[in-house]
Amino acid sequence: MLIDKIVNSIQQVTAELGQAAIWLSVLSAIWGIVALSIGLRRRKPDYLQSGRNAVVATFILISVATGTLIFGFVTDDFSLRYVVEVSSAAQPLLYKITALWGKMSGSLLFWLWVLTFCGAIVVWQNRKAKDTLADYSLIPIVIVELFFIVLVTGLVQGIYNPLERFPNGLVAPDGQGMNPLLQTPSMAFHPPTLYVGWISLTVPFAFAVGSLASGRVSSEWILRSRRWTLFSWIVLTVGITLGGHWAYQELGWGGYWAWDPVENVSFLPWLLVTAFLHSVMIQEKRSMLKIWNILLITLAFQFTILGTYITRSGIIDSVHAFAQSDISWYFLGFILVSTAGVIGLVVYRWQRLKSANRLESLLSRESAFVLNNWLLVGLTLIILWGTLWPIVSEAIQDKKAAVPEAFFNQVVVIPGLLLLFLTGAGPIISWKKITPNNFRRMFLSPIFIGLIAAAVSLPILAFRASTADVSLDDAVVQVSNEVQVAETATTNIFADMWNFLTFGEKSIPVYSLLCIFASVFVLVAIFNEFYRGAKLRAKRQTTNLLKGLWLLILRNKRRYGGYIIHIGIVIVYIGIMGSKGYFQLESKSLQLGDSMTVGAYRFTLLDTYQENHGNYDRLGLIFDVEKDEKHVATMKPARHYYFTTGQGDTDTIESAIHSIGMNDLYIALGDIPPNIRNGGYVNVQIYHNPLIKLVWIGIAAMVIGGLVAIAEKQEYKPRPATA
């Protein structure tokens, strides 16, 4: 037991070491800000170097603090309050480590650690820089670091230091453990992925501020932080998807997105970054939208802070959470002061930020980009408004109201479809002003083929709609009669997204048709782009088309990576249309031997099974799935019953998912009664989710496209003034 003794004596000092590191990091961060400021003002390279070193030192200090906390987790140091709250001795090692971001204090420390890491990388990336833009940009980064350092010191009432011990040498016998629901791989990595996406946005924001402060307001800051922005976008895409995938697999309601406040705040920065990635192209190409870009990245950054605050403070549950601690003032104060700072700088640099060009026509690529930005920012504000509606309504009318999922599904459809259309129109419309020639050459074939696709799919959609688990009457009522909407809104949440309109006796799924038209339009438009480019390349290099395509992408990874992302977007839309608008759901109580039918499939409950898995038991059912009397699959949905129970429940639904082509069969179970073999009933819900796989495939394509685009290294080249 020598090891135990050694571990024990190390435990005596680690937390104190970590705490000391956090306090020292306050000093190093302040020194970083001071030294960089002096160095920049008085042009003293020594000070600049010292400031950069301080940024790296802060990273090292926070690494030490984070390391000591992880050590506390791994060695089950139950004298630490935070360890007790999120871990337990029986927890598997992986989940002991991921418990680091299980609750607020630890996730703030993790956040800070990643942020200081980003700061250190910026120092490293710019070690050979010949100018001071990076030094200017480091200052805002360190200010944000300081904001989080103060939070983890435990100085702000309402958040305690994650390395805090219980007083009087108290040691808890065991930890409370992590909620079993969170003990799955995708949930273990979903929060940190989102965090990394959010945190890395600090860098482009800081470069925007740095460029304002330095007075070099050209597109340089955009290009020098471009990879950070793209990185953040890719990571956010992955992070949001992991959350949706987790919900689909673990929560047993057959869906992947429910417009929960937590989901919404993760989605909002994504929308804003997407807008930003587009609007910067206008600045680079046409020297327009300079102020807009700065405000957009500022807004995106502030949303990451706001998002942490909203998800962590409990304010959605009640406005009164606001007054219960100082955290609200601390967060909102930071957001207000920093936004005011940026606006002040913009005003200060107003003359230099004026646009060199103006919009020349409403039908031009510039306009398409501007419209794209309006729609994305508009969507952001709409979703934010819906998310904050409980707070707003409680604050202004003292009566709390809320909007269900139906609100979001309803309001996003039209802007969403317009955006989809722009995904194809943006890349093919000409700069400055559309010409008849441009229209003929680029638009005619996509529009024509899109229309044909919509016409062909009409009968299929109409048939599918009649068999889908969407009562047509309900959906129609929903469009036409707002009084009864509420009734259908909650029962048929999925219906409203792809509404139907009736003309006499006939029902036409209008939104689905528009979605298919726009999707095919985009695909053809982008195919044309690839085809024309590849053909030209192949001709010039005298090679074949495929090689030409490869050369084309290599030559302009940013542009064609973007197009790949657009293809991914289309695939996701089709997946959402199928899975949200045309799914089938049956709920039934079954005894052994019973059957039920969902769509074309027949499910027979054959048997039960039980397995032991260490800290939980798996109890499940075996279903035989048939189509047209032929065996298709055997599915084994289950429930997990955890022995060591933490703050959460003791059992979780483990849905069985079987994919057939792009469609999923999905079974979720209620409790399995002990008398199941003697006539007991078990509750079963079975979904048929058409095209749902396309959602994941489309997102994968988006990520691949993002990786292609990020591979391009762009140097800043000052353009001639007449650009």
Binding site: I159, W253, L381, P404, V485, T491, S587, T652
Partner: protein
């Protein structure tokens, strides 16, 4: 030059108005009243036969699970009080984390006469939603 700017302005105003209309109509059509159990009982008349949300805790010992009929019944209790509202939830699985005394969120139609909500959605405190502001009370349990 001026006409062009006017066009841009007009287009912006149209988009903005459309967005605002979208939100206003969306809220008007879907917004539902949100109550605590006591608040719901106090406003029984206005809430009767309306879609509402109610959140509180699962009243201890109130839940029954009728597997043969796929039916969950329970009562939502005021967090710090004794008022309860009955809930009936059919053809849906009992959500994870459904424990006596646990936080619960119910959406459905209120029937004032029987003080009962016919629920379309029952959610326990979502695991991905992190806890509210931490207080020092948990610490005292160890002292």
């Amino acid at each position: 030059m001026k006409i062009r700017r006017l066009k841009v302005l007009a287009a912006s105003i149209i988009i903005l108005t459309a967005m605002v209309l979208l939100v206003v109509s969306g809220i008007r059509q879907t917004s539902v009243m949100h109550f605590s159990p006591a608040g719901l009982i106090a406003n029984a008349e206005t809430a009767n036969d309306q879609n509402i949300q109610v959140d509180g805790v699962i009243s201890e010992g109130s839940s029954t699970w009728d597997a043969a009929n796929f039916k969950l019944t329970f009562a939502v209790r005021e967090r710090e009080g004794t008022e309860t509202v009955n809930v009936i939830y059919e053809d849906n699985l009992k959500p994870d984390n459904f424990n006596d005394g646990g936080s619960v969120f119910v959406e459905g139609r209120y029937d004032a006469e029987n003080n009962r909500v016919v629920a379309t959605k029952v959610q326990t405190k979502c695991a991905s939603k992190y806890e509210g502001v931490e207080s020092d009370t948990d610490m005292e349990t160890y002292e």
